[in-house]
Symmetry: C2
Subunit: 546 residues, 2 copies
């Protein structure tokens, strides 16, 4: 029938249509400098390791600028080498102390070439990485070590690729567990809403996510040498993980491929992959739309999934994963990390490059409000308490400014103060983490982003009532070390602060300094840790004590 079909008017329309379909591979790399295959591979590895976090593997930019050839070729080799070596005032760090001159040269060339597109990772590939070290049928029915596991701290030893288990009662390291490379986050099972009937004790199992996408399951009931019970890999580059409120599923989010993966929490068997590629809040397609963070919703059978480059929060319902319900909320770019209000209804997350905090109503599954704060908010675990004037408040530190922003977060009983800045507290330096406890009079903020060692090695403590800094604590004075990340112990009587040994990261010369939460005096130091970073107290995390 098609035999003598004539195109007529139609051909013109098709020509118009396909004129838009220009080949993207055809015109590449004409003017670009080149590298040998070996140098290209080296530069690719260095770029992935040190640059992709801010600029993206596809180099389209996110927190950092676009490094596509159309931008970099204009600057040229020499200028690029200078920027990489000495940084910029726009926020780019210097790298002359990390990379050799040859490496800087290779990287400057590499970023003038077309970015290679990394491969995808299918569900079948993930399944091949799944390993069982202890079969669920052999899980102990009670703790085998006689310790108070609810006051354990699970501690990221970042540059060792390990997680340490520390006994909070005895201030003793119980185990160092091999995990994925540069673990970013560890999440445990959490106390959930009344409908949930978890099979195992809440807070018993902990799940790590490495930057290499490796997922490990830790059983705190086991003898120390057997605590690693299962493993899988769900991406080449990843950042966050969470457990479902019923303890049935684990979800992990990939930077590359840009997707999240739902796994069986018992076996880590990957069950479902969902792409996070999509259209951003400006209406543009983003291939590298990365999953920045994932959280278990306390009162709903959902996870909050932050899609960084899209500026979208996705509320993912795990009650039926074969018919997966997702609310895709338009919020602000670039989403990073967040925390719940004390009721568990509202989720407060930093849209760091927008200098905003985004608030989601997880009950209505929609955007509640966007709050303007200071430069590059970063709350880490966040802090909630009750202010005398504003009622319940939440707060964040900032990567770009020595300031803590405090806003009302109780729209039901304090509607006039809700989602408005209540006050700010000036600190000596920009920081990464803030923390408090319901029984504490104080709020703690670190200052990790300040360039001066003295500030970087100190944390500041302010009073919930006076809003004044009551103490600046120099946690360490050793060269090449920095203080970061606070966590309270089970009963809220101690505050643990990490000391990073970044200048000596191949040795276990990092430590945790334990302070009395009331007197703010040092109690003890737990030594023998490698770049201790995030610390997660089992009891506080399972009960959302913040």
């Amino acid at each position: 029938m098609r035999k003598t079909l004539k195109l007529g008017k139609l051909a013109a329309a098709v020509t118009l249509t396909t004129a838009a379909l220009s080949g993207s591979t055809a015109f590449a790399a004409a003017k670009s400098p080149t590298l040998s295959e070996a140098d290209f591979e080296t530069a690719k590895t260095l770029y992935f390791q040190r640059c992709a976090g801010c600029h993206g593997v596809l180099r389209k930019g996110a927190t950092g600028k676009s490094l596509l050839p159309e931008e970099t070729l204009k600057k040229g080799q020499k200028r690029l080498e200078k920027i990489i070596s000495y940084g910029t005032e726009g926020g780019m760090n210097n790298f002359d102390d990390i990379f050799s001159k040859k490496e800087i040269s290779m990287l400057a060339t590499y970023i003038q070439m077309e970015p290679p597109v990394p491969p995808e990772m299918s569900l079948d590939m993930m399944k091949k990485h799944t390993k069982e070290y202890v079969a669920p049928k052999d899980y102990p029915t009670k703790p085998l070590h006689g310790r108070n596991w609810k006051n354990f701290f699970v501690v990221i030893e970042r540059d060792a690729g390990k997680a340490a288990i520390v006994d909070g009662d005895k201030h003793e390291i119980v185990a160092h567990i091999d995990t994925g490379y540069a673990v970013h986050v560890i999440k445990g099972t959490e106390k959930h809403h009344k409908d949930a009937k978890p099979k195992y004790d809440v807070g018993r199992f902990w799940y790590t996510i490495g930057r290499d996408g490796k997922v490990n399951k830790i059983d705190l009931f086991q003898e120390p040498e057997k605590m690693l019970v299962a493993e899988t890999k769900m991406a080449y580059d990843a950042r966050d993980i969470a457990v479902s409120g019923d303890g049935k599923y684990v979800i992990a989010g990939g930077y590359w491929p840009p997707h999240f993966v739902i796994m069986d929490a018992e076996t880590l068997d990957p069950l479902k992959v969902v792409s996070s590629r999509g259209i951003n809040v400006d209406g543009e397609y983003v291939n590298e739309a990365r999953v920045a963070a994932i959280y278990t919703t306390p009162n709903e059978s959902t996870w909050m999934v932050a899609i960084k480059e899209l500026g979208q929060m996705w509320q993912v319902d795990y009650s039926d994963i074969a018919n997966l319900r997702i609310e895709q909320m338009d919020t602000a770019k670039f989403l990073h990390d967040g925390f719940f209000d004390p009721t568990g209804r509202y989720f407060q997350i930093a849209a760091n490059a927008s200098n905003q905090m985004v608030v989601v109503d997880t009950k209505e599954r929609k955007l509640e409000k966007i709050i303007d704060v200071a430069s590059l908010p970063h709350p880490g675990p966040g802090a909630n308490w009750t202010d005398k004037k504003c009622g319940p408040v939440g707060a964040t530190t900032h990567l770009g400014k020595g300031e803590v922003s405090v806003w009302g977060n109780d729209p039901i009983n304090h509607p006039d103060q809700a989602w408005k800045l209540c006050y700010t507290v000036e600190t000596d330096g920009a920081g990464v983490f803030i923390r408090t406890h319901p029984d504490s009079q104080y709020v703690w903020a670190d200052q990790l982003k300040h360039p001066e060692p003295e500030v970087q090695q100190s944390v500041q403590v302010f009073d919930k009532d006076t809003h004044k800094i009551v103490k600046t604590i120099r946690v360490t004075e050793e060269e090449g070390k920095a203080a970061l990340h606070m966590e309270f112990n089970q009963d809220g009587t101690e505050v643990w602060v990490s000391v990073w040994n970044r200048a000596d990261a191949s040795n276990p010369t990092g430590e945790i300094v334990v302070y009395d939460a009331k007197t703010l005096e040092e109690k003890t130091r737990i030594k023998g840790l490698t770049t201790p970073t995030g610390k997660f107290n089992v009891y506080n995390r399972m009960n959302h004590k913040t």
Copy 2:
């Protein structure tokens, strides 16, 4: 602080990680034959026009096979030219009557080269295409032409890039309206559930989607020359469109870019774009995951969006598009076209390459059942009626077999028959469309896919009670013409059948043949149409009469 950071163990992990990040652009086209830039552009246009529908613009295959260089280079130029010229037994048609020898040679070479990736289309680009021909404030408040617009037929004149408006009472063509290229579907506003309060009369506005992504809005109250009231463009390649039940939004689905776009139904202003790229039911990422079909859910504030390559049905809720709720249901590949059951609760859609019908429960927003049928089901508008034995039933024709499959579709009152084959009817030839009406004793099926002109020019009619063919109607005997697509008129007394003039597609020598729905005798012929394809009776479509 990073100053003297050492990589240690960590470097090994990164090497492992990035070893997987092989460049996809680096190793292309080494052995591939090449074309001149001009021939490449010509071949790209021809491929897009004639091949991409089945094989995909990225050539990874869908209904057709993968045409990536790794497959095509093995076959080589000569074998590829033969396949394109004469087709295969696997279902590939011959193209020696459509393409010249030079074109076949260019195409055989083109498919051995790396496929060019077409560009994206942002929301801003779409907005620039939006045009208003008649301002909503100037819309008439009643029909200006004095005709019975509820018995209008909106008819696709495919190869003319037009839609015809035909007066069903008078059998007269009212207007030929310029639309996008090769309009695939036209949808009107529909009668919706009781909560909806549409601003305008239901069935008044019709929306066309061209294969070039152009969207046109037609106002049936206008004088013929003013019926085209607005226009936009939402993709380079598109297939389906639907209106929201409340008449507020229009949604259109793109083949490329693979996305859907929600527009203001009044102005066609594009409001939101959602990517359909994702992970298919086998757990693999699909870049070219095309929106095959979109339907308005009669009883819910949602659309059913079929993502062909993913094998997923997405139920998209339009009640809050800034917090867009989607249920992503794993079903079967490759989804194509579907229809609702008479209650409007169940949606029945062909997964054609799986030889299955997928049933979705739109109330529970989940997969209900998958039914095995014959080769390549294709229901078009579909058909529902009540069978003496099985109770309410649905039915489909097949592209791959001369058979109508009939299944029970009333799980509430006929659970034993629901979603099981009730019976099949053998027809003379494979077809594309099936149709009936609640007041009719008969079901009509076309046979467009049969190679013999005599069969292709005939439709068959069977009795709902006896399940026997009662009449084979030779709709046309003219060389180069074929019969397809049936539609009842407003009161169900007539059946309209299209006659395609594909061999003479640049002239208006196509026609619609009108039959008496009871006697099955010819009543009249409506001439002067160019390749009339889908026909949509305003009253039947707005009331879901099938």
